[in-house]
């Protein structure tokens, strides 16, 4: 067991092999021979010498033993990493807040360098006075703090056709959850004045980024005046470059593509722009070839993060914590059920705390594992009374080509040796 302290494993695969072997050892050790533990009876070097001084890492990174808890990319998904996506290591995290350093990235023309001093935000179109704000201006408006999840519409998209990627990071890792600090979009729109826009019911705002892709999306005015936030801090510190430093838009509960990074312009319009990202992409093609558009809300969804293919059971039978994440773009998660038998029977999990609207909720099922195989599933319910569907239910309505907005129930097949695999069940 002391191997765990000595150093990081050379590869994830080696780690998995080692940990399963260690698990077998632990079971026998607990039962029979148990000499004194040298980690206790012998004086260890860390208890004798000195550690690092305070300035060893002016900005701290995780200890080297956690170096496998990082974002990962699936190379075959895209043509180039400049216009691509990677995945949050949700299998190795707990709680609900995603550290910025391992929160997934999605760029259309790469993550750009944009200094605060060079940052400008324009509001134009159907406003009384088109305005330009500097970064410093934004910090002088009254600001708010909110925790929200940001999920890419394509999260779990590779699983439409069948079980594909073996790990919660890859099947469900296009998501992060942060506490944002920013100015309500409503405040900025009202500063520019909406009198000339007339009836706001049928108006839109078009938001675009400062990067070369100038990723642009149309948002109905109701949402823009609702809970959208022009954010410049996440988890207490400046946004990371890869998440839109210095300023990004937060569109709570709606697909991540609308959370425009490096936001530079907000235009009030009388109709949607029908940009590339809201027509050719992020639309859902149904079985008959017609496609849904404006499918902005991310429906309730959940996944067991441990045990899972990258997080096998390493301790043998006995007490087992099954845990995972649940979220809904319609509001708060009210309940999560867990099944160990592929959906025949369900038991209600414990929510770590009451669900928060449009934010991740952590659930636990504190259970006993009898060492037999399990087909683990989780099923979320939200305050609107919506129940997370199975993949079969989704396919029945949408067919096989939908790609985006796949919020199906996920199944992990946990074997008696503790390893888990992404499977589909009848």
């Amino acid at each position: 067991m002391s191997e765990f302290f000595k150093g990081k494993s050379t590869s994830r695969r080696a780690f998995l092999r080692g940990s399963v072997a260690a698990a077998a050892g632990a079971v026998t050790a607990g039962a029979a021979k148990a000499g004194p533990d040298p980690l206790i009876t012998e004086v260890q070097p860390w208890a004798t010498g000195l550690g690092d001084g305070v300035d060893a890492t002016p900005y701290g990174l995780p200890i080297e033993y956690e170096s496998d808890v990082v974002r990962r990319n699936v190379e075959w998904l895209t043509a180039d990493t400049i216009s691509s996506i990677n995945f949050t290591p949700i299998h190795a995290l707990d709680g609900t807040i995603t550290p910025q350093g391992c929160a997934f990235e999605r760029h259309h023309s790469g993550a750009i360098d944009l200094k605060k001093e060079d940052y400008r935000l324009m509001i134009n179109g159907l406003v009384d006075t088109p305005l330009v704000f500097t970064y410093a201006d934004l910090e002088r408006f009254p600001r708010e703090n909110h925790v929200y999840f940001c999920e890419c519409a394509a999260n779990t998209g590779m699983e439409w056709a069948g079980a594909q990627l073996n790990g919660a990071q890859f099947t469900h890792g296009m998501i992060h959850n942060m506490e944002y600090t920013g100015v309500p979009l409503r405040t900025l729109l009202e500063e520019a004045g909406l009198d000339v826009a007339g009836d706001l019911q049928d108006k839109w705002v078009y938001v675009e980024g400062a990067d070369a892709s100038s990723n642009g999306r149309s948002i109905p005015m109701g949402k823009a005046l609702g809970d959208c936030l022009v954010a410049f801090k996440a988890n207490g510190e400046a946004l990371r470059k890869e998440h839109g430093y210095p300023v990004r838009l937060v569109v709570p509960g709606w697909e991540g593509n609308m959370w425009v990074k490096w936001i530079r312009r907000i235009e009030v319009t009388n109709s949607p722009v029908e940009s590339r990202e809201e027509t050719s992409k992020y639309t859902d093609t149904l079985a008959d070839g017609t496609s849904r558009k404006w499918t902005w809300v991310m429906d309730a969804k959940s996944v067991v993060t441990s045990p899972s293919p990258q997080a096998p059971i390493t301790h043998g039978k006995g007490p087992l914590v099954i845990t995972g994440l649940a979220w809904s773009g319609h509001g708060a998660i009210t309940r999560v059920d867990v099944s160990k038998d592929g959906g025949k029977t369900w038991e209600t999990a414990r929510l770590a705390k009451e669900g928060e609207a449009k934010a991740l909720t952590r659930f636990y099922l504190d259970t006993e594992w009898n060492g037999e195989e399990m087909l683990l599933q989780s099923r979320a319910m939200d305050e609107a009374g919506y129940i997370q569907p199975t993949k079969a239910q989704l396919r029945e309505v949408r067919g096989l080509n939908s790609i985006y907005h796949n919020n199906c129930i996920q199944t992990w097949w946990v074997r008696p040796n503790g390893e888990a695999e992404n499977v589909e069940v009848s």
């Binding site: 849904r292 038991e347 009848s426």
Partner: protein, 349 residues
Amino acid sequence: MSRFLKFTLVAGLTISVTATAVWSGEYGLGRPALPEEVAAWDVNVMPDGRGLPEGSGDVWTGEQVFIENCAVCHGDFAEGVGNWPKLAGGEGTLANEDPLKTVGSYWPHLSTVWDYVNRSMPFGNAQSLSPDDVYAITAYILYSNFLVEDDFVLSHENFAEFEMPNADGFIVDDRAETEYATWHGEPCMENCKDSVEITMRAAVLDVTPEEAGAEAEEAAAPAAEEPPVEVAAAEPETAAAPDPELVAAGEKVFRQCKACHMVGDGAKNRVGPQLNGVMNRAAGAVDGFKYSSALQDMAADGLVWNEENLAAFLADPRGFMNGTRMGFGGLRSDEDIAAITAYLSTFGE
């Protein structure tokens, strides 16, 4: 220290500007945007064409600009290279198992093409194209999708008239009716299914990046070999049959030509002439195909598509025939040229 000073100076400047603010905002922060500034950033184009600058571009100019700026990723014929987006083809495939979503088959508005090319392309050199170039590229993409003729000219004046084939292919999100109403209420907790079978396993597919699945080693079936390419049924010819392996290789190479040229049973003229019996035939001889004047001139001088001439043409189309309409950039390897020659020789008239 100096950064801090700079910041406070900038902030001070903002205060002095806002002191003279004339808009009605509650906080008086920011400043009015100047018309030149709005003009510089507000360049998006609406579906009805609002926002388009004056200008125009024709298909053939578009082809040149496209080959220079876009073809490296999207292919000479907008057919896509590797994982890069295909911009042409796919018509009628949206209800198929693997729909091909391109500008022609999927995009509902032409404005989206113009707007995206203008603002976001070329990849790595965005906002470098002139309005006329963007009109020309848009025209060429339409042509690549067989949506306009080769003499088509797109301009701000005729832009709004153009209707995309899939304009009516979209519905507004209807999940509230089709899904939410059903997936609602009190879920089943016991005896929800009679039996549960595993129907698919990710480890068998084995597409997860390395290191992610320890069991992949034991479970993964060996990756299926690419199915052997079927040798095209050779017409019974009197000449010695070409090497079957070379023919098979040539069929693969011919995929690059298929966007424009058909060959085999029922082949018709498309962007390029059908190629049945092309080997050792006089150039410019296919009925009903409108050849470029460059080709007609060389045909009049007695050009025959023998191995030597075809090889020279395929290696460098524009070098061999200045003024050809064949947009293809050329085959780089002699093996590919030999293979495609062998493949084409299997098709008689």
